[in-house]
Each structure stands twice: as C-alpha cells, then as structure tokens.
C-alpha cells in the first residue's frame, strides 16, 4: 500500500508544482517542463499502482520492467523497426504523398476532375482503408511491399484533400495580380499557388506521418514474415509477454513522435511567413 500512497502523493505534488509553473511567464523551458513533469508523474502513478496493487505483470507490467526488457532486446527492436518503419511506412509515405501531390495539381488544372474526382476522393478518405490490408497482402505478398502499398492507399486521400484545399488558398488579389502580369500557368503554379499551399500541404504531411506508421503496423497483423513491429506485437501478445509488447510500443511512440516532429520542424522553416508560425 505504501507504493500506492507514495505514488499518489508524488502525483499530487507534481500537479501542484505544475499549477504554480503555469502562472509564470511562458518561455520555452517552462513549456517543455510542465508536460514533462505531467508525463513523469503519470509514470510514477503507474509504477506505484502496479506494484502497490500487485497487478500481474501479464496484465500490466510496471514501467521499470518495460525499461529492463527494452534495453535487453535492442537488436530485435532494431530489426523490427527497419522492417516496419523504414521499409514499410517510410517508402509508402513517400510514394503516397508524391502521387497525391501530382494528382492534386492535375485536379487543380482540370475543372472536370475537380467536380468528379474530388467528391469521390473525399468519400474514400473517410472509409476504413485499413480493411484493404488483407487484399493487398494477397496481391503483393507477405513482405514489406504489401505494407508499403497499404500505407500508400492510407496516405493518398488525406494528402490529396489537403493539397487541393491548399492550391485553392490564394486570395483574390494575389490571383488577379498574376493575371495582370500575364503569367503562364506554370509561373502561376510555382510562384503563387504552391507557396500559398504550403501550410495546408504540411498539415496533410503531419497527419499522414501517424497514418503511415499505423498502416504499416496494423497491416502486419494480416500476415508478415517473422519480423516487424506489428508481427512482434501480435505474437508477444499471444505469448502474454506484455513487457516486450510495451517495449515495441515505446519504439513505435518514439518513431512516430520523431517523424511528426521532423515534419513540424521542416514546416517551421518553409512556412515561416504564416501567422500561426509567427507567434
């Protein structure tokens, strides 16, 4: 019981500290410290409750056990990471985003496509694309190619919708200005539509980082060679060694956050001019 109480008290203390910190003038250090303290306090709570209530490690292992398993399985985790993230998610992400971009430019040019393809695209974007995983495994085989294919399909439609919205985002005056310069279609695209579309494009790119990782992992549930994060998770769940599952989840969380963070960083550089980046 001492575990539970000390965990609770630590959590409350950290929460109170956070309330005080929130009252101070915001700066980058405080902005990072507060959520970090919050996350840390949750970990403490977790560790305390699991140990204090003697929760079976088969149900929910304490963070300390996960850390031990993590450091002990680095090579396996790395192999899984390369299989799922680098080969499956990343390649699918790149192909899907490029395809969506080209399609968006075509849609922007052709009124017919705009009125025909867009509603269909909007519709498909809402569908459970993940359901295509078994079909794509059947067509492309067990290895990472089918996972990349799933990622391409998952990433394509949100990226298309966002890019098309972005290409329409220039305001009337900027558009008319281009007309008065007698600009050609390509000049208009490269000098106005594309830069103006960047905030929307990056919004899509960020959303798609998470979709790519999810797509790669979940499609491995439908069939995979004996490696990969999804594969490892489903087999270790079957063996009830949940600490390994949590270790894989940690890798996935780290990879997902890093990928998202990278896109956000690039976004800051490219769309420095947008009001949302100028605060």
């Amino acid at each position: 019981m001492t575990w539970v109480f000390s965990a609770l008290i630590t959590w409350i203390v950290l929460w109170l500290i956070n309330i005080q910190l929130a009252k101070i003038e915001a700066n980058r250090f405080i902005n990072l410290l507060v959520p970090a303290l919050f996350g840390f306090s949750i970990l403490i709570l977790w560790e305390g409750f699991v140990r204090g209530f003697n929760v079976s490690p088969i149900l929910l292992p304490p963070p300390s056990a996960i850390a031990v398993r993590f450091s002990g399985s680095l090579s396996i985790l790395w192999i899984d990471f390369v299989q799922t993230f680098i080969k499956g998610a990343l390649s699918g992400y790149v192909i899907g985003c490029i395809a969506a971009f080209i399609t968006a430019v075509a849609v922007d040019k052709s009124n017919f496509l705009k009125r025909g393809l867009l509603p269909v695209g909007n519709f498909v974007a809402a569908l459970p694309i993940i359901g295509m995983a078994p079909i794509l495994v059947m067509w492309f085989g067990f290895d990472w190619h089918s996972k990349a294919a799933v990622v391409v399909v998952m990433v394509f439609f949100p990226m298309l919708v966002n890019t098309v919205a972005g290409l329409n985002a220039k305001d009337n005056i900027q558009h008319d200005l281009m007309k008065t310069y007698g600009a050609s279609y390509w000049q208009n695209l490269l000098k106005l539509s594309l830069p103006a579309a960047m905030p929307f494009i990056f919004n899509g790119l960020k959303i798609c980082t998470t979709l790519a990782l999810i797509g790669a992992i979940v499609s491995e549930f439908f069939g995979s060679p004996t490696r990969g994060m999804g594969f490892r998770i489903s087999t270790e769940v079957g063996r009830l060694s949940l600490d390994m599952v949590w270790a894989e989840i940690t890798v996935a969380a780290l990879a997902g956050s890093a990928f998202y963070g990278l896109m956000a960083l690039i976004e800051k550089g490219v769309t420095f001019w947008h009001p949302s980046q100028r605060k």
Partner: protein, 259 residues
C-alpha cells in the same frame, strides 16, 4: 494632339445574379489620353472598380469595345501594358519586399542584374530604400501600400491603374502618399487611372475627373481640371480647388437623388 491610350465605346457589363441581372456598367463612352491622370469617383455600386477591371481585362464586358494602346484589353494584358495597384497591398508573405517587387520582373523575363537595379530604383521612388530584405508583415499598412505601388512601377508599362489604393490608410499617411504619387506622375509621365471615394483626393490628384452614378453604372459627367500640374497640398484651400470640388459634389448629389 494626344492619342487616345485607353478608350471605351458603348461599353456595358451585366452580371447575372440570383436576384436578377445587375447592370454594373451601361453605355460607357470614354477616352483617356496619354499622360493624363484620370480619377473615377462615385458612390458604391456605380461601377468605377468594375470599369477599371474591364480595362485591365480582369472582367469581360457583355457589350461594347474597350481598347488599350490600340489593342484589345486581353492583348494589352498579355503585352504587360499596365501596372495594377489593388485596395490591399496583396504582397506575398513568403517573399521579402525586394522579392515581391522582383515578382513581375521574374515573370516577364528581365535578367537578374536588371531586376536588382530596378528594385533599388523603384524603392527609392517610393522612399522605401533599405527595406528590400524585410518581410511584408514587418511593415506598416502605409509602407506595404507603397511597396505595392513600387511593384507596379518596376516594369516598363506606360499605364498605371489604381483601385482605391489609399482607402485603408489614415489621413496623414494618405496626404503624404498623395503628394508622392503626384511627384511620381511628374517624373514617370505615365497615364494613370485612379478610383477613389474621396472628393479632395480626386480633385487634388487628377487632370480629369469622371463622376459616375449607380443603377445602372454610368458616367454622369466628366470634369476637366484646370489646376496647374505641379501642385502642393496647400492648393486644397485655393478658390479654384474648391470650385472644382463643389462641381464634383453637386454632380454626385444629383446622381444619388435620381433614385
């Protein structure tokens, strides 16, 4: 005898809206000669902005002919015959001021060295020297508008079309910009078409004032100004100025009482 640089013949433009047809312009006949400074003034809905946009080939007339430099409006646009200044600066936020001014130069194919020269020249003209590396949001509204005018002057076009460019600025800045615009006109000798709401501004700047009235949009009267071409702000208190201003005012009142 100056040739006509911009001419409109029986020009009409009707918009089809959900509430029925809107006669934005009806039977407009107008001649603007080289080097003139022509103001278009009138209440909302009189068609002054629409007329300017038709000259710029940003709108298509439903009837009649408009000619710019003896060509059709579209040809003139493709030949880059004019610079256009909008009510808002419309600067691209991802380009510096210098980059924004270079934009038309890049599109029209001026070489890099010439681009640089023109940017420096034109920034000097509008008294924004040294601001070429700044971004639009770092400038005040008045400065952004000046940059937008600089952009319209950067390339070789004999005509300048301006749609209420100073409307959103405060009076002091406006007066200053009015003076600068007159100096620019004297230096560059361009033909200028200028849309405004403000009677003093129209009288101060122009050699010819076109008064328009709405529903349908038409020209009520064309008033020629006999004020000397080199003017200062003090002229606004002179008798001649007030005469012309009251002519304009009377014509505007007549137009609105017709409804």
């Amino acid at each position: 005898m100056n040739e006509s640089v911009i001419s409109a013949n029986d020009l009409s433009l009707t918009f089809e809206t959900n509430d029925g047809p809107v006669h934005a312009l009806q039977d407009i006949n107008l001649d603007i000669e080289k080097g003139e400074f022509v103001s278009f003034i009138g209440p909302s809905g009189c068609g002054k902005t629409t007329l300017l946009r038709v000259i710029a080939d940003l709108e298509t007339p439903t009837k009649g002919v408009v000619k710019v430099n003896d060509m059709s409006a579209s040809q003139a646009r493709m030949e880059r015959a004019y610079g256009y200044v909008f009510q808002a600066a419309g600067l691209y936020p991802w380009r510096t001021i210098g980059g924004n001014i270079k934009l038309p130069l890049e599109i029209m194919g001026y070489d890099k060295l010439e681009q640089k020269e023109r940017v420096t020249q034109v920034l000097e003209l509008v008294e924004l020297s040294g601001f070429d590396k700044k971004f639009p949001w770092q400038l005040s509204g008045g400065m952004q508008q000046r940059a937008s005018i600089a952009r319209a002057l950067a390339f070789d076009a004999d005509i300048l079309l301006m749609d209420e460019p100073f409307g959103a600025l405060d009076e002091i800045v406006r007066d200053h910009l009015n003076e600068q615009l007159l100096k620019l006109w004297a230096t560059t000798k361009k033909t200028i078409g200028f849309v405004t709401h403000s009677i003093p501004e129209a009288v101060f700047l122009s050699s010819k004032i076109v008064v328009m009235s709405p529903r349908p949009g038409r020209i009520s009267k064309i008033i020629n100004s006999n004020l000397p071409s080199d003017r200062t702000l003090e002229i606004r208190d002179s008798k001649e100025f007030l005469d012309i201003a009251s002519q304009v005012r009377d014509e505007l009142r007549k137009g609105s009482s017709d409804e």
